[in-house]
């Protein structure tokens, strides 16, 4: 969750931007994971990180040119954060820990899974910030006129605070699950002893 935070904060001022970023990441991740796993036996160990970065950078360039060609508005809204996918630790991390050790099919599916999870973690804060900051969700008004938009949610502080509380919520859920498991364990133990 903490990995790859920069885009999570920067592009989540609306749900559309967040979704675009997520799809871009899925594409780069699947592409680079597939290539890395194809060439995993050819690349010498010493230069592997550099090789991975070059592969990732190539895919990122492809995404960037594609966005510029077909969705100029979105590309402008995302600005330099599309090229910054290159240094996203999630992608390099998957290339290093998974794709360099597994067959191409597995790496492909792993990339799809990680990418989808990443997209969800982008779209949730994107949605929250768009709803509170502009009263819309994917451009469709959801809150009535009487709700005064919180402009601060669209600005940088809103991003930090939203993500902070999301992490808090996640901790709370984790804690609840752990508690339930503990009580379940206790109950089963009581039943056994009875």
């Amino acid at each position: 969750m903490i990995l790859g935070l920069c885009p999570a904060l920067a592009v989540t001022n609306s749900a559309v931007n967040a979704l675009t970023m997520g799809i871009a990441v899925i594409f780069v991740l699947t592409g680079s994971n597939a290539i890395v796993s194809l060439i995993r036996n050819i690349v010498p160990k010493q230069v592997r990180i550099a090789t991975y970065i070059v592969i990732i950078a190539t895919f990122v360039t492809m995404v960037d040119l594609f966005l510029k060609a077909y969705y100029l508005e979105l590309s402008k809204a995302l600005g330099p954060y599309v090229p910054l996918i290159v240094v996203n630790c999630v992608i390099l991390g998957r290339a290093e820990t998974f794709a360099s050790k597994n067959k191409i099919g597995l790496s492909f599916i792993d990339a799809l899974g990680i990418g989808a999870g990443f997209t969800i973690t982008l779209v949730v804060p994107g949605g929250i910030r768009e709803i509170l900051g502009m009263r819309t969700f994917f451009g469709i008004p959801v809150l009535g006129e009487s709700f005064k938009p919180w402009v601060v949610m669209l600005l940088p502080p809103g991003a930090f605070v939203t993500l902070g509380f999301m992490l808090g919520a996640k901790n709370l859920i984790d804690q609840k699950i752990a508690e339930r498991k503990r009580t379940a364990n206790m109950e089963s133990r009581i039943k056994l002893s009875a």
Binding site: C6, D64, P83, V87, P156, F160, L167, G168, N171
Partner: protein, 192 residues
């Protein structure tokens, strides 16, 4: 005057960490203690200034001259990675104590998005060479400032009574949000 404006803009108004969201990973990772925050900040400032200069030359005399600007991401990332290696070797030769205090942070800098972001922003805004260098230094100092303030707050935070679920990264992010609010106050500095 123009240079002063660029410097202030990069370090305070458009602070890399708090308003452009660049370099968040080290911002949350290294901001536990003030001393390590200061060392990390100086290492980043140093590398940023160098990167700003070198990527400007590469962009102007290699990429644009050869008509291959679409290679910029690939070439910038290679330049940054090798530059960090080079800086590491250089510091080890010149000053052993400095190397010992910085060495753990240098590899981290390679994957720091702030450095690549700096190269890309400089490219987008079409700065001249001097402007780009000033922009790099300013951004580095802004990064150091944010990091040191954050480290100071987090040292105090160890004594504070934080709600249990918000401990760790969550409270750091919320504090960063408050800091970002405070830094928004600098916005009036430039327009006025």
């Amino acid at each position: 005057m123009e240079l002063v404006l660029i410097f202030l803009s990069a370090s305070l108004v458009n602070n890399f960490v708090l308003s452009c969201f660049l370099g968040i990973c080290p911002f949350l990772g290294v901001s536990g203690k003030i001393e390590s925050a200061v060392s990390m900040g100086f290492a980043v400032t140093f590398v940023m200034t160098l990167t700003a200069g070198i990527t400007w030359f590469i962009n102007r005399y290699i990429l644009i001259a050869l008509g291959v600007p679409f290679l910029e991401y690939v070439s910038f990332i290679i330049v940054i990675a090798s530059l960090v290696q080079f800086v590491e070797m250089l510091i080890r030769k010149i000053s052993k104590p400095l190397y010992d205090s910085l060495c753990i942070y240098l590899p981290l800098i390679t994957t720091n998005c702030a450095i690549l972001g700096l190269a890309l922003f400089g490219f987008l805004r079409e700065y001249s060479f001097i402007e780009n260098m000033v922009f790099g230094t300013g951004a580095g100092i802004g990064f150091t400032l944010a990091l040191v303030i954050m480290a100071g707050i987090r040292e105090e935070l160890e004594l504070a009574d934080v709600p249990h679920v918000l401990r760790g990264p969550a409270i750091s992010l919320i504090i960063a949000g408050l800091l970002a609010l405070a830094f928004m106050g600098f916005a009036g500095l430039i327009s006025a």
